[in-house]
């Protein structure tokens, strides 16, 4: 049994059939080859699988592919090349806020969603808003410095 879906993924239309139980994470990585979204905890705690669905961050490990029907999905592959990404990448590089890189896509997509919601540069507020994105390498300080700068900029 499959479900017919029609969605926009990184600006391009997708129409096709998905098994009802297929996770969005697996659909993106295995079906579409968009491997920039990563798998880690599988219980929507760590945030490495974060993608934007209609601009909202979701943990794609706990989201059904079937549920993107009629919606817009943005992954790191779609974000890369945008002005936001260009600016964010420069800031992350300057603060050396990338180590292994496994959490990075999720961090950037969540940051974009926060920017879209008007979150500005209060450091504590940003730390709280980013509580769904874990990192084991950096100790967070450099990422928080980066996000404070990125979200503090006039949009």
């Amino acid at each position: 049994m499959t479900i017919s879906i029609s969605a926009t993924i990184n600006g391009a239309s997708f129409t096709g059939d998905v098994p009802p139980e297929e996770l969005l994470l697996d659909f993106l990585r295995d079906r579409l080859g968009l491997t920039g979204t990563k798998q880690s905890c599988e219980v929507q705690v760590c945030g490495v699988c974060t993608v934007l669905v209609d601009g909202n961050p979701v943990s794609s490990c706990c989201f059904l592919a079937a549920d993107i029907d009629g919606r817009e999905v943005e992954t790191i592959e779609g974000l890369a090349g945008s002005d936001f990404h260009r600016r964010a990448a420069d800031v992350f590089m300057r603060h050396a806020a990338v180590q292994c890189g496994f959490c990075t896509s999720g961090m950037l997509l969540t940051a974009k969603a926060l920017a879209g919601r008007g979150l500005r540069g209060d450091r504590d507020e940003i730390a709280a808003a980013m509580s769904g994105n874990l990192c084991r390498c950096t100790g967070y300080r450099s990422i928080l410095d980066s996000l404070t700068e990125i979200l503090g900029d006039d949009q």
């Binding site: 920039g36 219980v43 790191i76 890369a80 990404h85 050396a96 292994c100 890189g101 874990l134 390498c137």
Partner: protein, 753 residues
Amino acid sequence: MERADGRLKLAGQAEFTGDIRLPGMLYGAVLHSPVAHARISSIDTSAAGKLDGVAAILTAEDLSDLDPYYGHALRDRPIVAIGKVRFTGEPVAVVAAESQAAADFAVTRITVEYDELPIAASLDQALAKEAPLVHEEVSRPGSAHGLGALPDAEGNVCYSYSFRRGDVDRAFAEAAVVVEGEYAFPAVYQYSMETHTTIAHWHGGELTLWSSCQHPFLVRQEIAALFGLPLDLVQVIVPFLGGGFGSKSYTKMEPLTAAIARKAGRPVRILNGVHESMITTRRHNMSCRMRTAAAADGTVLGRTAEAWLDTGAYADNGPRVTATAGDAAPGPYRWQAVQVQAHCVYTNTGPAGSYRAFGATHLQWIGESQLDEVARRLGVDRLEIRRRNLLRPGEEVRPGGKPLDADLIGDVEKAAGAIGWGEPQARSAEKNKRRGRGVSVGLLAAGAHPVSMATVRMGPDGSVTVLVGTTELGQGARTVMAQIAAGVLGSPVSKVVVRGTDTRYTPYDRSTGASRSTTVAGLAVQRAAQNVLDALLETAAARLEAPPQLLTPADGAIHDQGGRSMTHAELVRARFGFDGGELIGHGRVQPEGGSGSYAEGPVFWEVCVAGAEVEVDTETGVVTVLRTSTVADVGRAINPQLVARQDEGATLQGIGNALFEEMHFAPDGMLLNDTLLSYRIPAFRDIPAAMQCSIVENGDGPGPFGAKGCGEGALAAIPAAVVNALADAGVPMNTLPLTPERVWRRIQELGTS
């Protein structure tokens, strides 16, 4: 200095093992034992084998043509359970199928009958008289433990390490103060964001593995031995790793993946879930008894320690961890007498192995808390007692080993100053909150076995490729190695590319761990680059008619003193007489004298120095880390940002270890908290309000430009500093983690209001 792989990772384009798809690749799923200790009476795979999409199923009977045991310290681990399971979660069978879903489903259709055996799932149970034996036969030694002759096993104790110096009885008899205690350290999980992932592909009698492994050359060695292949027919390719921290050290999922791929006749990928990685490896939990004796003037006299480390059902790196723990028990102090025994114990739980700063993280908080208690009882300042007793550069740390090569007193003074040592303690506004400060000093023997090679290649356009076996876990190896080569050659760093490790092409490097990469592998890169530079200078000397010693490499060219220069590209072409050819430089690092063994080393001593200020809520037991300081004593910081990131990351891991990380094994051996829903790792909210990472550069390292490594020390020192700070706030603790419940109960015991 831009990180070489940063933009690739920011764009989501960096390739990790799980991102690779091979044509015809199958997906593997593992059947895990539901019981901790049992004989396997039967396995029936017939129903599973008939399912759609199932290509192959592997059990022990498929290994009968092999000697199917591996293990670099003790060769005690079967590729898949053979006749017996020893921990809940042990692989009993593997399915390879056309999709992950098909493989996962097929696993549930395999029927296994278990004949349960008595369980020894804790140190107490494993050490009890008449304890059930996890391994009935003594294990063969592995090939790469570096521990010398292994002592005889005794019951469930698979390895013991002890040493004794001076007259312990006299030291304690003469002491003005004796502190004693019993301590417990938890099992914690390294939690790299990427779980263990391996792809195996047999082709034309050769085996290629892509794996998230830190030590591809050691893995290659074990795989070759297991499958009876010459080394050069086993190829291990390591893409980017999503963190390692020791969880991916030595051999993990590679034998199982290679075995199922062999049976399937097609490439197979096994990608662990977190719950699977958590029973693939973890940190040793430990019990320890320690005594410290000191004179009235604050001079330390004697220390005794006995520690038992729970290595789980298989040894993995347990013996090395145990020896390092033993060595960490005295701390870097001038003792008259020490006596240490450390034991590595099998239990029916998931195997424990390497995790950043092992041994030091286990013991430093214990010894340092006793030293603080000595100071308190004698009325001596806790920083001052360290000044009096810490070893100084050049002093012996252990007999026959490398003398101390770091200014520990200077380092701890820095760490203390950064948290306001000596300033009046700011009081919390709230009556029920208490604050305290603590510092801690320790050492880690760094470098492991110092054998590394490197190749540097310069093409006719002057571009440079570096081949070195250090794996990129996130620490920035590909950046630092490029900086080293560029520094020697005078090339712009942007023209130097460091390629990922492929054992077919990358020269031998023993391992990525023990803080050794910049110092040992980096030295090999430096020597290889020097090789290439010598060739450039030779050609330039002839063309510019100047002696090589008066030529300088800079800006991608060789310059004479008169303002003339030739670019690298021009020099390569000149050397070969056309627009082609290549300069290839080789660098080699090996022990200068002796065997390079653990006992003769280390390559350098890594300092484990930190300070912490904490606040404890006496009504709830909640501990908050207000500020931390760490010191990276690195000789020369080739990339200061990357050094700081190591200490920041280690600080957060240390906070997790100190305050809330703990794996809970039930009495029946099952791991109860095997997902992030129930195992908490630090998040953004756990950053201390102030985190200061100092870098000390005294040029006293054996690595390139006087460098020493870093990355581990802070993880050992932060929990120790936190424990000491909490004791300073009035709540001394003997058990980690410092959960609110434990701290609150202790407060009740002490009657602190």
